[in-house]
């Protein structure tokens, strides 16, 4: 155990019990100690900051798009640049923000700690994943100076094989990012299988791990198909082999099949971890055991498996046979069942709970509202008749923003606020954190509800110009974007300022019962100075946790005599 010099507790400082002065953040120092680190916590933190950075880049593109759409004519950019902007907005947000988002950043940090383990199963692979991510991201962004990209993030053939823009660098980048994703998923699956502590069966695991496990299955099984698809696209563009080129006997629709065979499961790579985060926060802030643990666990697996069977619903108007369309439509409906099971269980968990409106819980409530809208509008699109009308309209844009951005990214931010005290050992300003979360939620709905309406009126997506009749909707949407921007700036400021001015965090500020709250905040290098108490049941019981106003956190009554983690270590010194 590398606990030499570990000094914990309130002794000479103002730190609460459970705060660790010596922790993974300052265990070793220097730039090299970060870029070569094998510590899952540091890799998670590096991932998190990178993702937030790319989120602001993608958000900048989005803000420019929405500003351009203020009037029906050209405002700040012309149509060609507009096409590139929505391509980069989509590609950056999908490949650099939402896909890695929760697994690579948050799960990397908490997953091994939740298992009471010292690290993920393959720490080197984990670091390789991060650096592949960086290389892929830089390669993708380098295309900006190689002529840009205007295919949309879906790279549909035959346009992507004929356009003069920089398709190959971006597609190569996406290929590399796929490896980063696979490594993360593979690592988590093995870690969950092999590094669970004695006494923690599958059904004693936190639900977060079930969600991440299901995500890992998709990452491992779907991403290689994207890999081969992108590889074929590169080969097609460079060597003109004719796989996707109809002039040479190829089939451009095959590209769509391949693409969505990955990319539909990929939306579950996005949403399953979000649901996993929510499943942690709902019982914690409702102070009640989760309702229907096994249903939530199984529904994650069900979503992962069903997710592979519905890709054709992206192609209802792409010349699929009527039979195929009907099968895909029916299967699409069936995916909504496990999703609805989760929403029902979260609501039932909150029912008669004593809900605490801490900042993370505001994100949770926003998530449930937004995900319900996103999920239900998905049924409109899964239905054959309405999809023909709504296809390629703003309705689709609004729908997938409700699920991908509104649900996944808000859950990511909620998770960041939830685990922030654990990561950095600082409490942020609750009042401004709450205000920021509320403003983001208001801005989000203001942005995308008008898009549902104008989409149902037939306004097509992906055009820089539009008919004047849609202007009020576009303007409402643009105003919403700026509200959201303000909200995110407040949230960012709340988090950053907490690092300098926030009060030091106790081990368990929220009274959560999963293992990561038993180690100090921030965790020591080896995660636990003393072995955690592994629950014999599902982890969402709160009777042993008691609020200590002096500490500003919760105390574990099972450790009477050693009131919080770290105390024993201090005594030993």
């Amino acid at each position: 155990m590398a606990s030499t010099g570990m000094r914990v507790g309130s002794g000479a400082t103002d730190a609460p019990v459970g705060y660790a002065e010596n922790n993974f953040l300052n265990h070793t120092k220097g730039f090299a100690s970060w870029i070569w680190t094998l510590d899952h916590k540091r890799i998670g933190v590096m991932y998190m900051w990178s993702i937030i950075l790319f989120f602001f880049a993608g958000g900048l593109f989005a803000t420019m798009l929405r500003t351009e759409l203020w009037t029906p004519k050209d405002d700040i950019v012309g149509p060609d640049l507009y096409n590139q902007l929505f391509t980069y907005h989509g590609a950056v947000m999908v490949f650099l923000v939402i896909l890695p988002g929760i697994p690579a950043a948050l799960a990397n940090f908490v997953l091994p700690i939740m298992l009471g383990a010292k690290d993920v199963a393959f720490p080197k692979l984990n670091l390789a994943s991060y650096w592949l991510f960086v290389v892929g991201a830089l390669l993708a962004l380098s295309s900006l100076v190689q002529g840009g990209l205007d295919t949309g993030w879906t790279f549909y053939t035959p346009y992507s094989t004929s356009t003069n823009t920089a398709v190959v660098p971006v597609v190569t980048a996406a290929f590399i990012l796929g490896f980063a994703n696979i490594f993360t998923g593979l690592n988590f699956i093995v870690t969950i299988h092999k590094l669970r502590p004695p006494g923690m069966g599958w059904f004693n695991m936190p639900l977060f791990l079930w969600g991440i496990y299901a995500t890992g299955i998709i990452q491992v099984l779907a991403t290689p198909v994207l890999g081969i698809t992108l590889l074929l696209l590169i080969i097609e563009r460079v060597f003109h082999v004719g796989i996707f080129d109809p002039a040479l006997g190829g089939d451009p629709v095959l590209f769509q099949h391949f693409f969505w065979f990955y990319s539909h499961p990929a939306v579950y790579i996005m949403i399953l971890p979000a649901m996993a985060v929510i499943s942690e926060m709902v019982p914690t802030f409702s102070r009640k055991p989760i309702f229907g643990y096994r249903f939530i666990a199984y529904s994650s697996i069900a979503i992962a498996l069903f997710g592979f069977l519905v890709w054709g619903h992206h192609m209802f108007v792409a010349g699929q046979s009527a039979l195929m369309n009907m099968i895909m439509s029916a299967l699409t409906y069936s995916v909504s069942i496990p999703s609805a099971v989760k929403v029902f269980n979260w609501l039932a968990t909150m029912w008669k709970g004593s809900i605490q409106y801490r900042t993370p819980m505001i994100w949770v409530l926003g998530f449930i509202w937004i995900f319900a809208i996103g999920g239900l509008t998905g049924l409109f699109l899964g239905s054959l008749g309405t999809d023909v009308h709504l296809h390629e309209t703003y309705f689709v844009v609004a729908h997938f923003h409700y699920t991908m951005m509104g649900s996944t990214f808000l859950a990511f931010f909620g998770g960041v606020f939830y685990w922030w005290p654990k990561m950095f050992g600082r409490m942020y300003d609750e009042k401004w954190g709450t205000i920021g979360a509320l403003i983001v939620n208001i801005g989000f709905n203001a942005t995308f509800i008008p898009q549902f309406i104008m989409g149902s009126h037939g306004s097509p997506r992906r055009y820089a110009h539009y008919l004047p009749e849609y202007q009020p909707f576009h303007q409402a949407s643009t105003v919403g974007t700026y509200i959201m921007l303000v909200g995110f700036i407040i949230c960012g400021w709340v988090l950053i300022s907490s690092l300098y001015r926030g009060r030091k965090a106790p081990a368990n500020p929220w009274g959560a019962s999963t293992l990561e709250w038993q180690c100090t905040s921030p965790p020591p290098y080896n995660n636990f100075d003393e072995p955690p108490i592994v629950p014999e049941d599902e982890p969402y019981h709160y009777d042993h946790l008691e609020w200590d106003p002096e500490l500003g956190g919760y105390i574990d009554k099972r450790r009477e005599g050693s009131p919080a983690p770290g105390a024993a270590v201090e005594a030993a010194h």
Binding site: P112, A117, K118, D119, V120, A121, F122, P123, L125, I182, L186, N187, I189, V190, T191, H193, K194, L195, V220, L221, A222, T223, P224, V225, G227, I228, T229, L231, L232, I235, E236, F239, H240, V241, G242, I243, D245, L248, G249, G250, D251, L254, F258
Partner: protein, 344 residues
């Protein structure tokens, strides 16, 4: 394979009791975040199997593309596969199977501490891998020489070695037909040229039901005779004087051709979009070849470490992992060979 893995459970530091003896940081092989060597080994193995699953799915996309194109255009595959050399493909299959055997044995030798045997087996595996690539090089260069390439690069022509092809007369006839249509817009050209050509060929591009004199199959020369009718203005047309008559096929092959005609009542004419087959062929075998190269590098690395004596009966994970990887490379070829070379 399964036998070898069964052996692991008994043979090595795999069991938990065993792990306890060496565990708790005493074994130099134990990484800090594992409790026992057994746990570490099982984790490595599960990780490797998951990686192999991604490999299956990576190739799965290609097998899927293969199925789609073959399902939609069986005539392309039946026609074009004759240009693949079954003998070389078969030899390569044997070579890879042998290498799979030697690397599996090498894992067993590592478990038993037979270091020189293990090293020798790895060397044989490496030689087989290089042999595979060498044969692949011969096959590729043959395709290259005859313009049997994917997509827009497909410009088939008979070289002076029409007899090289195992399909003999059948292939010779096809070469001739293909030669008339050499050039970018070969399908249109084929129709025109064929009309001008010996009427016994009655080539109608894209229509594989066109009636044909079966005698053609027996006489490559008559097929070649069609060539002089090629459009003299076509710059890519082959100078007939440079084309040697294709050799008469071995009797067995000729019979095979006739049987084929008997079944389907069709003669092998060049269908449209033959380049699709070569796209599938080159992409699939090319990606497989890249995996062979990766395998060679991996085997080379473990060979070096084996010579330095790194692997012991209680810890030999890298040897086992590389062997698993090599088996999947072998396995994929086992599917590629019949699907590409042995079509009816």
């Amino acid at each position: 394979m399964s036998l070898m893995h069964g052996e692991h459970a008994h043979g090595s530091g795999h069991d938990h009791e065993h792990g306890h003896e060496h565990g708790h940081g005493h074994s130099p092989y134990l990484e800090h975040h594992f409790e026992t060597l057994g746990q570490q080994f099982e984790s490595d193995k599960l990780g490797m199997w998951l990686f192999l699953a991604t490999e299956i799915l990576l190739f799965g996309g290609l097998f899927c593309a293969y199925s789609v194109y073959r399902g939609n255009h069986p005539e392309i595959f039946v026609y074009a596969h004759q240009y693949l050399n079954k003998m070389w493909g078969g030899i390569n299959t044997v070579v890879l199977l042998l290498s799979s055997f030697t690397i599996a044995w090498s894992v067993r030798a590592t478990q038993l501490g037979q270091r020189s045997l293990q090293i020798g087996l790895l060397v044989i595996t490496l030689l087989c891998a290089f042999g595979f690539l060498g044969i692949k090089y011969v096959e590729y260069s043959e395709k290259w020489k005859h313009g049997l390439l994917p997509g827009k690069h497909y410009q088939p022509h008979v070289g002076s070695h029409g007899e090289e092809h195992a399909a003999g007369a059948e292939a010779g006839a096809d070469h001739a037909a293909a030669a008339t249509s050499a050039g970018g817009e070969h399908t249109a050209a084929a129709t025109t040229d064929a009309a001008a050509a010996d009427s016994t060929l009655s080539v109608t591009a894209g229509d594989h039901h066109a009636s044909t004199d079966p005698a053609i199959a027996d006489s490559a020369a008559s097929a070649v005779a069609a060539v002089p009718a090629a459009d003299p203005n076509d710059p890519l047309a082959i100078d007939p004087s440079k084309i040697a008559p294709a050799a008469a096929p071995p009797a067995g092959l000729a019979r095979e051709v006739r049987q084929h005609e008997g079944e389907h009542g069709v003669m092998m004419e060049e269908p449209k979009n033959v380049q699709t087959f070569f796209a599938v062929y080159f992409v699939m075998t090319g990606l497989h070849g890249v995996h062979v190269v990766a395998g060679i590098i991996a085997i080379f690395v473990i060979l070096i470490y084996s010579m330095r004596g790194l692997y012991k009966p209680e810890w030999f994970t890298p040897v086992d992992m590389v062997a698993l990887y090599w088996h999947i490379v072998d396995l994929i070829w086992i599917f590629l060979f019949p699907l590409l070379y042995l079509i009816h």
